[in-house]
Amino acid sequence: MKKIFVTAIAGLMAASPVMADLVFPSLSYRTGPYAAGGIPFADGYTDYFTLLNERDGGIGGVKVSVPECETGYNTEKGVECYESTKGEGALVYQPLSTGITYQLIPKTTADDIPMHTMGYGRTSAANGDVFSHTFNYPGSYWNGASGGVNYLLETNGGDISGKKIALVYHNSAYGKEPIRTLEELQKKHGFELSLLPVDHPGQEQKSQWLQIRREKPDYVMMWGWGVMNQVAIQEAANIRFPMENFIGIWWSGAEHDVLPAGDKANGYKALTFHNVGRDFPVFADIQKYVVDAGKAAGAGDQVGNVLYNRGLYAAMLAAEAAKTAQEIHGTKDITASMMRDGMEALEITEEKMAALGMPNFGPSFSVSCENHGGPGLVGVTQWDASSKTWSLISDFKATDIDVIGALIAEDSGAYASENNIASNCN
């Protein structure tokens, strides 16, 4: 035991030296009830950086290293991972967990390291005036909630008053995020909202779906993650709820969520803020430089999955922000603080994405000091069980900024006054 301990301490000392690489830590979770979603995202995130290293020799000529740390979607382990990787010169954190995000918002701000919570985390972090180091472009949960309602409006000819919408949500900070927005939208559009919480980890949903069967809502929206998604879709199939009226958030719309239900999942819809499929030139490069070279992360079997694409997208945005930071500060070896400036000045255009082999992969947008949330454009995808593919059925469209903007101002204002945060942008 003593020997192990001594070697462990020796290892810890050995693991800490400063590296000259650009460090993008990946706080991943490949174990536990949320691993099904964590694995493809982490693979995509790592693979993109591997591709940059192999094809372009890194970012601006500086190699990238992606130390991985297993969080198991657990906040305590998330803190440990954060502390153990931040000393290595971490440039940006992407914890892929709303719980860990809440924990890291004050810590990253104090340590001057930016955090990117793409499509999750604290929505009001979109207000960069208050949350100086937290970014959630290109979209947030509240955009998602509004985008889902907009899609329903569109399919119903602009009127959903009197319709019943049930929200099945993960009973945690993550699942509770959209409720406020949906309640506001309920007032505006006159639909009836009923809330059905599902407790962690979400294997037990019989009573929720029994209630749906009894109340017969016109639409069901879902804020689920991990094993909860599969169970919900299976339960929906069991009560023969029409799948085309069942819409999940972007975290509830990947292959592994719908495959267990087989053909019955056909027609299930999910929101998205980036494109799906592997019909992009970048995948040829990934195949050539990463997969065929035997350098793929994990088992290498996730390429092209919805969440793999999201990890890829997250890595692409991080790499572009790093390039922007290199340009702004005129140095190749950027620090976390420079990275933050790069993220705040990030501009993604259609030409840029096309040049990267990812045309129309996501919306084009630019980040500013006031707006860390991006444009919040939301598209809709649908699952085809026979060909086992997701396809984009509604293009990226704007969401209800009036409602969301007011809520963001309210929530971030409360945070600012609670924590005595001075304005960041002036």
Binding site: G11, A15, R30, E70, N74, S84, G99, I105, R180, H200
Partner: protein
């Protein structure tokens, strides 16, 4: 040769009754305190504090609390997670309602509130025992988590249901919030740990503790020799709840800073603390520390060895960790059912005779 009673003369009753009757133990104890208070704070960085010391100290308090209930009084409890949540939410409500009062008192009051809640859930112990009591405390665990998730008053109506610790200071030095120094949080928790261990040790070797142990060993016999089971059991629940509440408050306010009840204080937390006292040793204050250290350090050591030194994939190490921790628990239960504390006791016994055992 060196570790022995012989030659250590006691000339007063108080000296005869002291916690560490052997000189080398006493010196060791003061040395540990000295190092913990005066040396460690200067050697700390964020990683050591947040990954090792804070969890170790905070879980130690929880383990001491649970050990009083389970190890000393024999009342099985699976509600530790729920009771820690009471401490955390009580602390949060106090911190936000009375921002001018020092956080130090908030933590203590949070412990007191948890003690009261614990007493309420301990009342069934007067009628039911053993497994049935375990199930009753399990109900407390689920009820409390549900309550804190369900009633928005507890989380000040925040949109996400999360509670966030605002910045608070002791003597002008921040101990909660984001801008804390590593040594400050460490010392803040250390003070509570030392005080808890000191109180617990002295309670358990005094009249109260003897009553608890009498109830644990045979409640009918204890009643016949004059121990009031109501008072003994209820006081055990109250004291246990007090310590567990303090640990919950520190866990939320100092260590994590933001907490979501279902995730941070779920049933796994109850089991974790229970494993700590089983591995450490039931009915031993030292065992509480040993168990907490074991279960906090083991995953970190395994991770450092597996990922950082051997370069294995993170998921494999995480899986191995589950296997190894599970295997070690079984191994311990078979080889040393009385835990690490018993190993320590046996070692001390051997040391007294060393190097001439015959």
């Amino acid at each position: 040769m060196f570790y022995r009673e012989a030659g250590d003369f006691k000339t007063s009753y108080s000296k005869d009754n002291q916690t560490f009757p052997i000189k080398i133990d006493r010196v060791g104890y003061y040395l540990v305190l000295l190092v913990a208070f005066l040396v460690v704070p200067f050697m700390l960085n964020d990683y050591w504090v947040n990954a090792i010391f804070l969890p170790f100290l905070i879980y130690s308090i929880a383990a001491i609390g649970l050990n009083i209930l389970v190890g000393y009084c024999g009342q099985v409890s699976l509600g530790t997670g729920g009771f820690m949540a009471v401490g955390a939410y009580a602390c949060y409500k106090l911190m936000t309602t009375f921002p001018d009062i020092n956080i130090f008192f908030h933590v203590i009051i949070a412990g007191g509130i948890t003690g009261l809640v614990c007493v309420v859930f301990g009342l069934p112990s007067l009628r039911i025992k053993g497994f049935y009591l375990a199930v009753a405390t399990l109900a407390a665990q689920f009820f409390l988590v549900w309550l804190f998730n369900r009633v928005p008053w507890f989380y000040n109506y925040s949109a996400s249901g999360q509670i966030n610790a605002p910045e608070r200071t002791v003597f002008g030095i921040e101990v909660t919030g984001a801008n804390t120094e590593a040594w400050a949080t460490y010392l803040f928790c250390l003070v509570f740990v030392v005080a808890s261990a000191w109180i617990a040790r002295n309670l358990t070797r005094g009249m109260t503790g003897r009553k608890w142990m009498a109830i644990r060993d045979m409640d009918i016999a204890a009643e016949i020799i004059g121990v009031n089971p109501l008072k003994a059991k209820i006081s055990a629940f109250a004291v246990s709840g007090f310590f567990v509440g303090i640990s919950g408050a520190l866990f939320f306010a100092v260590y994590l800073g933001a907490v979501e009840v279902g995730e941070a204080f779920g049933i796994t937390k109850s089991f974790l603390v229970l494993f700590m006292i089983i591995i450490g040793g039931l009915g031993s204050i030292f065992g509480s520390f040993a168990g907490a250290a074991f279960l906090v350090l083991l995953p970190v050591v395994l991770k450092v060895v597996g990922v950082d030194m051997l370069g294995w994939p993170t998921d494999m190490v995480a899986h191995l960790q589950l296997v190894i921790v599970g295997g070690l628990i079984i191994l311990f239960l078979i080889l040393e059912p009385h835990g690490l504390a018993q190993l320590w006791r046996v070692t001390k016994q051997k040391l007294r005779l060393w190097p001439f055992p015959h």
